[in-house]
């Protein structure tokens, strides 16, 4: 491979005593209030413990006091980098539970917006990953350029950039304004060449390859067994995508491919995200062509009262499988509301990945898993 020529075996170099290093909760590369308690031997990590919960808001408890519609804003604040998919996950779960239908146009709008959100989230994830590798924020800001335009589109449509609260039970909240469509077309036209620009900046860069290749390798067996989902799973070579496995919102009508990595290292996860951006553009193009006219929302009662029962419904968020386990007892509020957090569960292998790695590798590996603390802590 590209990088091993100049690497030095570091085992046995740290003859000083192991010491404990607290990475976080305030640290540039923990992407939020995440804390790693690391036992280090020189530059090598001997043991690693993650401490989360600094952002815990007891969302699942609070949700038991609110109607299903009122709970949608919580999903904004869970995965605040992918609010659209969070909204959609809950809306779909409730629709499946109550049998509420949403109009065709709303389904297409849902696809368009969740794919836009996926692009924005992947841009953020890859940008911060490269920043963690030390590229002094230039790629991050390049990727923010596209994210910025997508957030502008969100703002046009629903007035909010981050916590959109856009997907509703039985449809979407608003019809996009007239100037939305040309702006979207402009974005779709320039996105592929922008991704090529990043590839030119990063993928052909020896230093970036040396930092990410063969680092943080997750085998396919481990990835499946440790419940990894999303790009972390696909980076390990497993072609699993809920948009194909359990199509929702009419994803079965769109033509797209699943990108899978070969080795399962940081580089593969990075590249899977890059490729998913292209696939998302492809999906949005199809959706924009096919979108039918019609209402964007069906009327639903103010307080939905599902039959007593339970449902586990999941969709593919940018970070993986975001699932909602809802138990109803016939009242307007869920009896039990559980959010399956992909970012948290993707961290299941963190300790095994970290042990024996050097500090820079661990930082890059953590960056490649793409955590969002709002979702981990809930």
């Amino acid at each position: 491979m590209a990088s091993h020529a100049f690497e030095v075996d570091q085992t046995g170099t740290g003859s000083a005593e192991p010491f404990v290093l607290n990475i976080g909760p305030q640290h540039p590369s923990t992407h939020g209030v995440f804390r790693l308690r690391v036992v280090m031997d020189g530059e090598i990590i001997r043991d690693l413990d993650m401490i989360v919960g600094y952002l815990h808001r007891s969302m699942e408890k609070l949700a038991e006091e609110r109607t299903y519609t009122q709970n949608i804003p919580f999903t904004d604040r869970a995965d605040y980098l992918a609010a659209m998919t969070g909204n959609l996950g809950l809306a779909l779960a409730v629709e499946r539970m109550t049998g509420v239908e949403s109009p065709d146009r709303a389904e297409y709008l849902r696809v368009i917006f969740s794919e836009l959100q996926r692009i924005a989230s992947h841009a953020m994830a890859n940008g911060t990953l490269v920043s963690d590798a030390g590229a002094w924020q230039t790629p991050l800001l390049y990727m923010f350029r596209e994210r910025e335009k997508i957030l502008d589109l969100f703002e046009m449509t629903c007035g909010a950039r981050l916590t959109t609260n856009y997907m509703r039970i039985g449809g979407v909240a608003f019809e996009p304004p007239a100037e939305f469509w040309p702006a979207l077309q402009e974005l779709l036209d320039e996105l592929p060449e922008r991704t090529d620009e990043y590839a030119q900046l990063l993928v052909d860069n020896e230093i970036f390859l040396a930092r990410t290749r063969n680092v943080g390798i997750i085998s396919a067996e481990d990835a499946i067994n440790a419940s990894l989902t999303g790009p972390a799973l696909r980076g390990s070579g497993v072609p699993w995508d809920l948009r194909k496995a359990e199509p929702y919102c009419g994803y079965e009508n769109f033509d797209f491919d699943i990108p899978v990595g070969k080795v399962g290292d940081v580089y593969d996860r990075f590249m899977v995200r890059m490729e998913e951006v292209k696939q998302s553009v492809h999906i949005i193009r199809q959706a924009v062509e096919q979108i039918p006219p019609g209402p964007h929302k069906n009327d639903i009662p103010l307080a939905l009262r599902p039959e007593p029962g339970e449902i586990y419904s999941r969709i593919e968020s940018p970070r993986g499988e975001i699932g909602f386990y809802l138990v109803s007892d016939g009242t307007p509020a869920p009896y039990r509301f559980h959010l399956r957090s992909p970012a948290l569960i993707n961290l299941s292998l963190l300790r095994e990945l970290g042990e024996g790695a050097s500090l820079p590798d661990a930082v890059v590996t953590l960056g490649s898993i793409d955590i969002v603390l709002g979702e981990i802590d809930r």
């Binding site: 085992t11 046995g12 003859s15 000083a16 005593e17």
Partner: protein, 190 residues
């Protein structure tokens, strides 16, 4: 260059050197002692300059202040338990007596002897001549044998340091029992 600068420089630099050397002796913290040691080295380099030995002065800074002190820093870092201790041993009194004795002996001899000295114009003649070429010629001419021996010595030093420190790596790859045996044996050799 007139001698004014030399005189002032000599007094200031020798004060720095002697005082910092004393502080190395007195400091309780090994890192502080190391800092003063570097200061003493730098003062010594300054004294070399007052002796018109530019090449040697720069080499002094490079080797002592730049390399040997860094080596010591690493040694201190690799021995953490002892790192903050600059305590005295049981032999303080003999040490002080010996030091004082040597210092006073040298001082007495230096002051008492009538040295065949160059002064005045003869001295000014060699002010800040470029010594590099001359020293180089000496090293590769008259003292070439010593020069070669010194390079062999450096090589041996290099290898010796590597061999000494790499011992643990080998022990680490052995089984724990073997490693314990090796450790005991090597420790015994010390």
């Amino acid at each position: 260059m007139d001698s004014t600068g030399i005189v002032i420089g000599f007094w200031v630099l020798s004060a720095i050197t002697v005082v910092s050397s004393l502080l190395v002796l007195v400091a309780r913290n090994l890192m502080h002692a190391l800092a003063f040691l570097v200061l003493a080295f730098l003062g010594m380099a300054g004294l070399f300059i007052t002796l018109s030995a530019d090449f040697v002065a720069v080499a002094q800074v490079l080797i002592y202040a730049g390399s040997i002190s860094v080596l010591m820093v690493f040694a201190v870092m690799l021995t953490p338990l002892a790192s903050r201790d600059n305590g005295n041993s049981l032999y303080v009194l003999p040490g002080v007596v010996a030091g004082l004795g040597i210092a006073s002996l040298v001082a007495f001899v230096a002051v008492d002897t009538e040295w065949a000295e160059r002064t005045g114009a003869a001295l000014a003649e060699s002010d800040f001549a470029s010594t590099v070429g001359e020293v180089g010629r000496l090293l590769l001419g008259r003292y070439v044998l010593a020069f070669e021996v010194a390079s062999v010595l450096l090589l041996i030093g290099l290898l010796g340091a590597i061999v000494l420190v790499q011992e643990r790596r080998r022990a680490a790859t052995q089984s724990p029992d073997e490693a314990a045996d090796t450790g005991a044996r090597d420790g015994g050799a010390l």
